[in-house]
Amino acid sequence: MQMDGSPERNDDLDQVPLFKKWSYWYVLVIGFLLILIAFFYFLTKHFS
């Protein structure tokens, strides 16, 4: 990360828990959101 505030090129300098890369965590969070939206859509349709 530069002092001028530009985004860090390698954001995996710190130890990543569970996965090899932080990007896997990001995929998990976004994937879980998509699953939740799909589940909510099912609930909405099923009980309407």
């Binding site: 990360m1 505030g5 530009s6 710190d14 932080w22 969070v29 976004i30 959101l33 939740l36 859509y41």
Partner: protein
């Protein structure tokens, strides 16, 4: 409230204060007071982030919101997980690398002192006022339902937490939030269980979902598209939730010191990221469950007499007005209609048992009767609202925030009522304590230390930070008292106030991170212009001249600052060339 309720309430609140005082011991300098010496593990960062975001209004209003408007409010949080990812990639590494106390310190390094001061000032203004509303909102509801004096309720709601926040700073805030959230979730789970427990024996969880679904309360996903196309004035739908919610969450978690100050306490960049990403995983399901309690309460009132208006103090107001005689007649008619409606749904247990059973398949004529009685009931409720709207009465016609607490007071056992009241206090305390800590950190770091020529020792800075925390605590309680007359839709009032400033502040940070060529002057001028524009848009929207829901103001503010600052920078470079 009964004696057991008072005992539970007092013991819980005193326990939190003592715990905060005990755990809040830290080094007597700014690092210890505002950042807990950067020693907090990820799970405490997570709980602290959640405890800061979830105020008392979250637990009071959300079930009522699901009861009246359905569960579509959950879509408001769909942008949050996306924002957590962007924060972890961009914002958090910067703040950690620069070892800042406040998010706004970074803006001086990137732009200039003017931009830093403007942004920090906007934060202080917006947070100071909205925290006052955060105190006022639950206080008005509690004082109304329990008959407590509003001034004392405000003082207890916003004042007692000052004891441990002033003494222990960020460390006390983090540790108490941890305990507070455990009690809050425990209390809400018990409340949810009690609603199901009090339903007729043949009505299970699945039936509750069917009842809620048939009544349109399980409208979790809505598109916002009507016959005339997409409704920009629709507050909660998939698009506004994902896009508007994303900008709001990015601004709140990335540029609001009350949140930035939480994950800066983490012992490493890794722990900060993990806390934020976990928040992205659990926030939406948590909000879903809180809203589900509202649907459970709705189902409960299908088999039990629903009050004609949930805010009893407003009924008391009507009973002293010119409508007092009409109210007596309306109450009698309403009671009769409710009794008939419930009789049509529930029959006594065969064999003379004390229990009840729900008619499994209601005969057609009874269904018609039920629908007619529902319509009649809605008519009575509308009449009460019309009376309350009468200028001579001067009442509040919105009882959404009173639904859950009224259920708690009327149907939960002794002791549990005290626990649920304590939950409301603790939710308020967790959020307010973090905010006071952040208001104090911005005041001393961004203004006092930055503009004062006098050198201060660590001990003096520590003492001064405590004094600023005390000052902001008193300020917020005073604002709460002034906001007493605000009344309607308190949850949205807080959100609308945030949306006035959040977009612009986020725009400044986005330019800082992503538009390297844009300088301080361009971003400062554009921030001032766009802020004025957002305020004008809000006024036009309030007056009904334009139709734009408040969530979109975040998008307008953020994108407005980015585009305008680019334009101003381009013009400046052209003038410089000439």
């Amino acid at each position: 409230m009964s004696s057991p309720d008072w005992i539970v309430l007092v013991v819980t609140l005193l326990g939190i204060i003592v715990y905060g005082l005990y755990k809040g011991r830290t080094s007597r300098d700014l690092d210890g007071y505002f950042l807990s010496n950067r020693t907090v593990p990820w799970y405490m960062v997570l709980l602290s982030i959640m405890g800061t975001q979830a105020s008392a209004v979250t637990f009071l209003s959300a079930p009522g919101q699901a009861y009246t408007d359905g569960m579509r409010f959950v879509q408001y949080y769909f942008g949050l997980p996306l924002a957590m990812v962007v924060l972890c990639i961009t914002f958090v590494p910067v703040f950690h690398r620069l070892k800042v106390y406040t998010a706004y310190e970074f803006l001086e390094q990137r732009f200039d002192l003017r931009t830093r001061s403007l942004t920090s000032f906007l934060f202080l203004l917006q947070r100071g006022l909205s925290t006052g509303i955060s105190i006022s909102a639950p206080s008005i509801i509690l004082s109304s339902i329990l008959g407590w004096d509003i001034i004392w309720t405000n003082i207890f709601m916003g004042g007692l937490l000052i004891i441990y926040t002033v003494t222990g700073g960020a460390k006390a805030v983090a540790y108490t939030q941890q305990l507070q959230l455990i009690i809050i979730f425990g209390g809400m789970c018990i409340a949810g269980y009690m609603v199901i427990h009090r339903l007729p024996p043949t009505v299970g969880f699945s039936e509750v979902l069917h009842i809620g679904g048939k009544a349109g309360k399980l409208n979790i996903i809505t598109t916002g598209v009507g016959q005339k196309g997409f409704d920009w004035n629709d507050k909660y739908n998939l698009l506004s939730g994902v896009i508007g919610g994303f900008f709001l969450a990015l601004s709140y978690f990335g540029t609001d010191q009350s949140q930035v100050g939480r994950y800066l306490t983490a012992r490493s960049l890794s722990e900060s990221r993990l806390g934020l990403l976990m928040n992205g995983l659990v926030k939406v399901p948590m909000q879903f469950l809180i809203l589900l309690i509202g649907v459970l309460v709705f189902a409960f009132y299908q088999f039990n007499k629903e009050p004609v208006f949930f805010n009893q103090s407003q009924i008391d107001l009507l009973s002293k007005s010119k409508y007092k005689d009409s109210l007596v007649l309306l109450n009698k008619a309403y009671d009769a209609a409710e009794s008939q409606r419930i009789r049509n749904l529930v029959t006594p247990e065969p064999g003379g048992g004390a229990g009840q059973q729900v008619i499994p398949a209601t005969p057609r004529q009874t269904q018609g009767q039920v629908l007619a009685l529902e319509k009649e009931k809605a008519g009575y409720k509308a009449t009460v609202r019309r009376w309350l709207n009468d200028k001579e009465v001067g009442g509040d016609d919105n009882d959404t925030n009173y639904i859950f607490l009224r259920f708690v007071m009327d149907y939960l056992p002794k002791g549990l009522i005290g626990l649920l009241i304590a939950v409301i206090f603790l939710a308020a305390w967790g959020s307010i304590a973090a905010t006071l800590n952040s208001l104090s950190s911005c005041t001393i770091v961004d203004f006092h230390k930055r503009f004062s020529k006098k050198e201060l020792s660590d001990e003096q800075e520590y003492r001064l930070s405590q004094l600023y925390t005390l000052f902001w605590g008193i300020f917020c309680v005073a604002v709460a008292q002034l906001a007493y007359n605000l009344g309607n839709s308190l949850i949205e009032a807080v959100n609308v106030l945030g949306s006035l400033f959040y977009g612009v502040i986020l725009g400044i940070f986005l330019v800082a991170f992503y538009r390297k060529k844009v300088g301080g002057t361009a971003v400062f001028i554009s921030a001032v212009i766009v802020e004025i524009a957002v305020v004008v848009l809000t006024i036009l929207s309030r007056k009904g001249i334009i139709h734009l829901s408040f969530l979109w103001f975040n998008v307008v503010g953020a994108i407005g600052v980015v585009l305008l600052s680019e334009g101003i920078q381009w013009l400046r470079s052209k003038f410089t060339e000439n």
